[in-house]
């Protein structure tokens, strides 16, 4: 909630969520991330998840988790490049 409020306050166009420090992303975490992305999209902004560790990505696929509706990128730099591209195409 607080995150969505800040998106509104700062008129953010995108939010980058860095999950590098997360050594486990279970179904609860992935559901929470998707819900956050959905709330942020309702405010007209994009969400990009960066920093999913390789073992975590593997476990997520085995578990059958998707981050549908959420953009992902390797790291902060790639995330910003992805967003720049996206906004350039719109404008």
């Amino acid at each position: 909630m607080a995150l969505v409020q800040r998106v509104v306050r700062f008129r953010s166009r995108a939010v980058i969520v860095d999950v590098t420090a997360m050594d486990v992303l279970d179904s609860f975490a992935s559901r929470t991330l998707r819900e956050i992305a959905l709330m942020i999209r309702l405010r007209g902004a994009e969400t990009v998840i960066v920093g999913i560790q390789p073992e975590v990505a593997f476990a997520m696929v085995q578990l059958g988790l998707t981050l549908e509706g959420v953009g992902t990128a390797l790291d902060l730099e790639e995330g910003l490049a992805y967003l720049n591209q996206k906004f350039k195409n719109i404008n």
Binding site: V24, Q62, L63
Partner: protein
């Protein structure tokens, strides 16, 4: 390990990862084990409010493994087949994530009925066989 809160889930994951590493599991398998513990612990907190998870090293003549037992005295599952049905929803028909957990482990056992609580036992074996 008691599982009563979000912090307990994080602690259980960590302990699971440490034990898995001690047993000799790879980083990838240790993450699968920690993720399995996370799913089972989350079910306990979400549905039963409290329960417990035990971790045990298994040793057979030529292999080692880890046994995870997640138990609670919560509401129990009325239709286990439904909970384990692996359709389009990876959460299973009841949102418990059990079909997913089953894919991460080698052996999967569940006992549950309404009012009797739930016990889930999963085993993951280290892929390498030991010399005799």
């Amino acid at each position: 390990m008691p599982i009563n809160s979000d912090q307990d889930i994080v602690l259980a994951r960590h302990k699971g990862r440490v034990l898995a590493t001690e047993i000799g599991f790879s980083a990838v398998d240790a993450t699968l084990i920690a993720t399995t513990i996370s799913e089972l612990a989350r079910n306990i907190v979400s549905y039963a409010k409290k329960g417990e998870i035990t971790l045990q090293t298994l040793r057979q003549s030529r292999r080692k493994g880890i046994l995870i037992v997640a138990s609670d005295n919560g509401p129990g599952i009325r239709d286990i087949r439904l909970a384990l049905r692996d359709g389009f929803s990876t959460s299973g028909s009841l949102g418990l994530g059990l079909p997913g957990v089953r894919r991460l482990v080698d052996e999967f056992q569940i006992a549950s009925s309404p009012g009797q609580g739930t016990v889930v036992k999963v085993t993951k074996w280290h892929p390498d066989l030991q010399e005799e």
